[in-house]
């Protein structure tokens, strides 16, 4: 649908065009008198002029009207906007590991999505799906990442600006497990930017894997399980040591067989070398000391030497442990159906760090199955959910920030066509003048009574005027 940004210009053009048409019909000069010897028999009376004109120079009239309308249309800036519908919906589908059943998310999203609606899939990122949103919703896959509502809401606000011209009202629906871990300090502030209510569609949350005692096969630098290694010791103390587990912690060299073992099934291979950096890491230019490291809900406060950092050339990976200043301490990469987790955390050989429960929890977190390092945490409280949902009606399109319009490339074409018509009008006017002068020369003098139009310059048709009564004296 084409709408005008500045319709006043078009209205003015319409008025000017109407005036142009009127000038072609209105006689502004008194008709030339014609000699008639028997004028004495014409009755006297009050002069009353009523003119009824036959339009002449229709081509000139049409050119002028079209020229004026085109210029007015060009200045009114036509833009292309889609057809409006009552409600447009933006569905935020949570595919993070916080949701327990992705099928439930699929069904909820598909039931909400309609033609032209927008689907936003979010975990730690938000991806906006415009075309084929319903089909995309039917094929949602759980990502295993953490869920973050803030970027999803920001994406929804931007999508709403683009949907503004398509519907009278816009509704945001969030299909999520609504865990506390998905909300940060900016969530409410971003939520406050949305002028309407938000529909919350809760789905069952996934199981919190953190803290769950998982068995892990921890191998020392020599490949044996009984070595005097801090990690092996900590695993034993934490009760993780178990043979034939889905998690294998390798303190020594890792072979291709180990990688294939992880990729073949839903297994986790943790590469935590005693010496040197794991693959994908490099030496730091200036090794330093970090005071603490965090993995999931486990925090170890200890001055640990930080020697390595992720190699930028290495494939992207998910950070599963961070130093206290935010730098990665361990990352995880998906390999086949499983994953490989690289830990660049040196274990001190001296001291009692490995004996502390905090270190045991750190080992437990780093030895967790794929995608389960961080805790999904508890669900949002009722007050928080109410604040997120908000109150009142749906957001109207006037209340939403205007998105940048699609400017039609029609304007330069309109102006070009107007220029062409102006040239044609000049040509037609010259032709009309030439015709009029030729007609005047060939016509009888008394037939020169045909009035001409003032202002427009266009000739009128032969006047069929009526002048009733009256004797006029020559001025």
């Amino acid at each position: 649908m084409v709408t005008l940004l500045a319709p006043a210009f078009f209205y003015v053009a319409l008025a000017v065009a109407a005036g142009t048409v009127a000038l072609h019909f209105i006689v502004t000069r008194q008709p030339t008198s014609s000699p008639l010897p028997t004028v004495r028999f014409v009755p006297r009376g009050t002069v009353r002029v009523v003119t009824v004109e036959r339009p002449r120079d229709l081509l000139l009239l049409l050119l002028r009207v079209a020229l004026v309308l085109l210029i007015g249309l060009a200045f009114s800036q036509p833009v292309l906007v889609p057809e409006r519908r009552p409600v447009a919906r933006i569905v935020l589908a949570d595919v993070s590991r916080a949701v327990g059943s992705i099928e439930e998310v699929r069904d909820s999203a598909r039931s909400l999505l309609g033609e032209g609606d927008v689907l936003i899939i979010f975990d730690t990122r938000a991806r906006v799906i415009r075309a084929g949103a319903a089909d995309t919703a039917a094929a949602l896959v759980r990502s295993g990442e953490e869920g973050r509502l803030t970027p999803a809401l920001v994406a929804a606000l931007r999508a709403a600006g683009e949907l503004r011209a398509e519907a009278d009202s816009i509704e945001i629906a969030i299909v999520s497990a609504f865990r506390a871990s998905q909300v940060d300090g900016a969530t409410q502030a971003v939520r406050a930017l949305w002028p309407g209510r938000i529909r919350l569609v809760p789905v069952a949350a996934g199981a919190d894997t953190l803290g769950v005692a998982h068995g892990a096969e921890v191998r020392g630098p020599g490949g044996d399980a009984g070595a005097q290694d801090g990690v092996v010791l900590a695993a034993r103390l934490a009760g993780l040591a178990a043979a034939d587990s889905a998690v294998r912690v390798m303190r020594g060299a890792v072979t291709a067989e180990d990688s294939m073992w992880a990729a073949a099934g839903r297994r986790t291979l943790v590469r935590w070398p005693v010496e040197g950096a794991p693959p994908g890491w490099r030496e730091r230019a200036r090794p330093d000391t970090a005071g603490a490291v965090v993995a999931g809900g486990a925090v170890v406060v200890h001055p640990l030497e930080r020697r390595w950092e992720p190699d930028p050339a290495a494939p992207a990976a998910r950070v599963v442990a961070r130093w206290v200043d935010g730098e990665p301490a361990a990352v995880e990469r998906v390999v086949g159906e499983g994953c490989i987790r690289d830990v660049a955390l040196p274990v001190p050989e001296r001291g009692d760090l490995v004996l502390r429960p905090a270190f045991g929890r750190l080992v437990r977190a780093l030895a967790a199955p794929c995608g389960a390092v961080a805790s999904i945490g508890p669900g949002l409280g009722e007050d928080e959910l109410a604040a997120l949902a908000g109150e009142g009606p749906l957001a109207t399109q006037e209340a939403i920030a205007r998105a940048e319009r699609v400017r039609l490339p029609l304007v330069p074409w309109l102006l070009g066509l107007a220029l062409l018509l102006a040239l044609l009008e000049l040509w037609a006017r010259r032709g009309a003048r030439a015709g009029a002068s030729a007609g005047d020369g060939g016509a009888e003098p008394e037939e020169a009574v045909a009035p001409t139009h003032g202002g427009s310059g266009a000739g009128a048709g032969r006047s069929r005027g009526v002048m009733a009564g009256g004797e006029a004296q020559r001025a």
Partner: protein, 327 residues
């Protein structure tokens, strides 16, 4: 036929040269006007124009005269009265009847014809073609040619803005050429036709008035009545253009060519009223002229061939006077 002294404003044939032909060599001008009027002369060839009544003239001509003479064309016997010419007594009849009878015979005389042409601005209509004037001058030449063809002297009076130009009735061949030259003028201004008509009535016994009667029509009628009372034949030829009978509906404002300050709007209603008034005026004009004894004929330029128009005029006077003696 004598012309007498021309009144003031009259230009005789021997007077000042005509502006219309002065710049042209005489021979070339003659050929030029003859080329223009040659179709007119061809159209009226062989036509006659008998007098309406016996002519009171003794000069021999084609029209029956009121004079009973001694010609061979016997009419009747009349008892001798004192004063009759004894040479016309029929002596044989006297011997048989012992009564004195005078032998009467038919005499023929000429009828001097003067054509008066109105050259006022109203005759220059329509403005582009001057149709009324063009027709009027051709008709004048045609009537003069018809009259002169039977031996009648023909003259012309052209009345225009600058007065009148008079060509006295003459029978010589070149009189038509003089008339053609005299008619090479452009109608303009207003003209008083009554004085010109009076001069024409003084010069001729048959006067043709070719005009649109939009000038001094009443004065003209008064002069004509007096002339007709003295035995003049008057032919009133009313020239009306088709554009006057039915004005162009595209005209919104009309003006009098002889009085440009008079301008009147011509609406549809006014147009109908104009046609009604104009028609009534024409009927009244015809009625008054006919009642006075004139032959009134309305002509519309271009409505019919010139020969038919001339025939309508010449035959409108009724049966030729020469058929019945009408003693």
């Amino acid at each position: 036929m004598t012309t007498g002294k021309a009144p003031e404003g009259v230009t005789g044939t021997a007077g000042r040269p005509e502006p219309a032909v002065a710049a042209v060599a005489p021979g070339a001008a003659a050929r030029s006007v003859l080329r223009v009027y040659a179709p007119v002369l061809d159209a009226v060839r062989g036509m006659g124009w008998p007098a309406r009544e016996r002519v009171r003239s003794a000069v021999a001509g084609p029209h029956p005269s009121t004079v009973r003479g001694t010609s061979a064309e016997f009419v009747e016997y009349r008892p001798y009265r004192q004063g009759d010419d004894p040479r016309r007594i029929d002596w044989k009849l006297l011997a048989r009847t012992d009564r004195v009878y005078t032998r009467l015979s038919e005499e023929h005389a000429i009828l001097s014809t003067v054509v008066v042409v109105d050259a006022s601005a109203s005759m220059a209509f329509p403005p582009k073609t001057h149709g009324k004037w063009e027709f009027a001058r051709r008709l004048a030449v045609a009537l003069a040619a018809v009259a002169r063809h039977r031996g009648d002297p023909a003259g012309l009076v052209v009345v225009g803005e600058d007065g009148m130009r008079v060509i006295p009735p003459q029978t010589r061949r070149t009189v038509l050429e003089e008339m053609m030259r005299a008619l090479e003028v452009v109608p303009a201004g207003s003209a008083a036709l009554a004085p010109a008509a009076a001069e024409a009535f003084r010069l001729g016994r048959r006067v043709v008035l070719i005009t649109d009667f939009l000038g001094d029509a009443e004065a003209l009628l008064a002069v004509a009545k007096r002339a007709m009372a003295s035995g003049r034949e008057v032919y009133a030829v009313h020239v009306v253009d088709a554009g006057e009978l039915d004005p162009d509906p595209r005209k919104l404002l009309v003006t009098d060519p002889e009085a440009p300050s008079v301008r009147r709007p011509l609406s549809l209603r006014a147009r109908r009223e104009y046609q009604r008034r104009f028609g009534e005026w024409r009927e009244r004009l015809a009625r008054e002229w006919r009642r006075a004894g004139a032959v009134y004929t309305m002509v519309v330029p271009g409505a019919e061939p010139l020969r038919r128009t001339v025939r309508r005029i010449t035959e409108a006077g009724g049966a030729p006077a020469g058929v019945a003696t009408g003693a």
